[in-house]
Symmetry: C2
Subunit: 453 residues, 2 copies
Amino acid sequence: MEQMKVILSDSEIPRQWYNVLADLPTPLKPPLHPATGEPVKPEDLAPIFPMNLIEQEVSTDRWIDIPEPVLEKYLLWRPTPLCRARNFERLLNAPVRIYYKHEGTSPAGSHKPNTAIAQAYYNKVFGTKRISTETGAGQWGSALSMACQMFGLACRVFMVRVSYDQKPYRRIMMHTWGAECIPSPSELTEAGRMVLKQNPDSPGSLGIAISEAIEDVVSDPEARYSLGSVLNHVLLHQTIIGLEAELQMKMIGEYPDVVMGCAGGGSNFGGIALPFVRDKIYGKQVTIVGAEPTSCPTMTRGPFAYDFGDLAKKTPLLAMHTLGHDFVPAPIHAGGLRYHGMAPIISHLVREGLVEARAYNQLETFEAGINWARTEGFIPAPETDHVIAAVVDEARRAKEEGKEKVILFSWSGHGLVDLASYEAYLSGKLQPYELPEEEIERALKAIEGFPKP
Amino acid sequence: MEQMKVILSDSEIPRQWYNVLADLPTPLKPPLHPATGEPVKPEDLAPIFPMNLIEQEVSTDRWIDIPEPVLEKYLLWRPTPLCRARNFERLLNAPVRIYYKHEGTSPAGSHKPNTAIAQAYYNKVFGTKRISTETGAGQWGSALSMACQMFGLACRVFMVRVSYDQKPYRRIMMHTWGAECIPSPSELTEAGRMVLKQNPDSPGSLGIAISEAIEDVVSDPEARYSLGSVLNHVLLHQTIIGLEAELQMKMIGEYPDVVMGCAGGGSNFGGIALPFVRDKIYGKQVTIVGAEPTSCPTMTRGPFAYDFGDLAKKTPLLAMHTLGHDFVPAPIHAGGLRYHGMAPIISHLVREGLVEARAYNQLETFEAGINWARTEGFIPAPETDHVIAAVVDEARRAKEEGKEKVILFSWSGHGLVDLASYEAYLSGKLQPYELPEEEIERALKAIEGFPKP
């Protein structure tokens, strides 16, 4: 009987997160205050984030202890299994060994609780009473709802309108975990009302929802905002994925030639990749690939520039690959991959050549995902289908090159709450969506006059 | 840091199923041929089931080897974790230690693949080309769709109409795994047409869907029927749950005072319970409890009698607790617990006093399930909520008695594809549903004139 999984016991869970800021060959460009053009100071962010997370955001300590109460919640489902995709390998018939880190085993069904639990905990310690956030596909909103419930915090989620309508189950998850879920744009905020005035039928976007959530907390001293991706501390919390995977690979004497993840804001990809980026910085041979949609090709086609994280320009300016803060994504089904920007850490690593990006259209991603489900059983989230398409692509390259390769990737979540997208694909209703060239011109216009990184 | 889970490595998976027929103090009453009143012979069942499964159905071997190809598929998600529900314990504040076997980690989200994989394998070996089945909530139909895909068999699922309409996601899962899903009653079979003629708006029932699936295969020599619960071989396959749990409990030096499972047809309950029933037969002190809905109180209120397994009287007569083969269940949301009968093995054990049954209404079950989700994270299936209500009840008893108790139960599946039921509960739209006394009179009439067990 061949081994299919490498598992870790509770006592083997990593006790620290890995902070790549300690090892970057060149420093990250700092976030800038839009009014002054100067780096933002911790106190500028204080109305939005709790101070303990702001400190974590700028920390350059290599290892950061995972607090005991966070570990206790992690143990509800972590460590997650590292699985060998033997059945999928047979289908591909290429010289590859494929390992996936199964993040779909969490209660919310994705990697998102890794940071939701941590953020809820730090907010609780800081004294926050209520957290407000935005969500696209709903993976993040549901994860944060659960985490807030576990630490006794109130939670309000602004959910991108098109997902709110397409994905009622995500909303019900949030209610089941005791949170409030509001379709965005909403009448609750000035940012929302402004959009609705121009377009009462606006499908919404993450950029708009972020503006609403931030506006919602700055007027309430007991409330703070929480972001499910993009920021340094979010990627930090997600490194638990890669750290466990590293340990598990070591246990079976394997080291990956290629490490992959799908990338929306960058937290899942960063989670699996950063511990291996460290190895690469110190000389190890490893290819690290982020997979994104051709409809939202932030890293593959967006400029690296200072831009806002949201539509209403309420965030600091971040140095990142961006399609412009006014980007309105195509209604593709991978809602978690429709954000206009990419985490500054990931953007920086792309620029440094430590990480590369590849884009796939949603027809090839759903095809890959269905082949996965029919061989490995688990139905992937539409986001996860992107990395599976990248794995298929990598296996084809290995076959062409006649080179044996070990592939490791983050299977970021299951698709059981996103099944409508599979129905749309199976009934032939989906378009591939390539971003038109004019959209890049619009993006360049959106960042005109901003400082250059 | 307290331990939350006991996990087994791939190599520790049990290699045999446990067959309780080898240890029963008194023999099971045999299934009878309705025409002759004589015990059915294997050849009578040959048009419906493959001969290798018929042999397994009547085997009295205590241990039955799990074939290697079945083990290989099990390893996609098995062994499943045994988890300690420490957060739920704190909420209950009773002298109990609660362990749950997490069957929600399978690709289909429930325990059903344990037998689906085995049945698809045996059919493949036998030479079956197509399998037909019925499904209530859709847990079974989706599990069998996946299993058939993995072994290269075609699959047709007759899905109870009311669930087909309420649970589109289950249907999409079946499509994603390559199966055909037909709402029942349908125009495809005589049994379906008969029901539709009397009531074109029939919500359907498992009894009707079973009739349709059986009729569908008897006319096709390359097709066989598959049942997801009730029968001896199905419970046999599910004992992997209890066998793993037994091993895991032993590893931490625990033995349960109470073993619990929710019971619809009896396969989940049998799966966790039967290895402990064996201990009890040989003198061990252990309470074994099946939890069922007050709206379908098969064991708690239904007579023990010979009855058909389906509405159109196409099955043999089975000796079991039954609410009558013409039972039409209330539209409660635990679709997997609406079957009129109970597995002959479980019914026999209830009669022998080795197992007891308790009934809970759906308001108390959803309340228990939501408290579970808010403490332990995972959102249970509406079926699973029944055993959680039983755990709450047992904890209350332990508190009243001032007695320390170890509770072990099967957490049979997650509710992420059944979330509409949670919304209905949270918005106050659900009724408790107690079965009216007239329904028991109807049941007694339905079995009038049948042989007595």
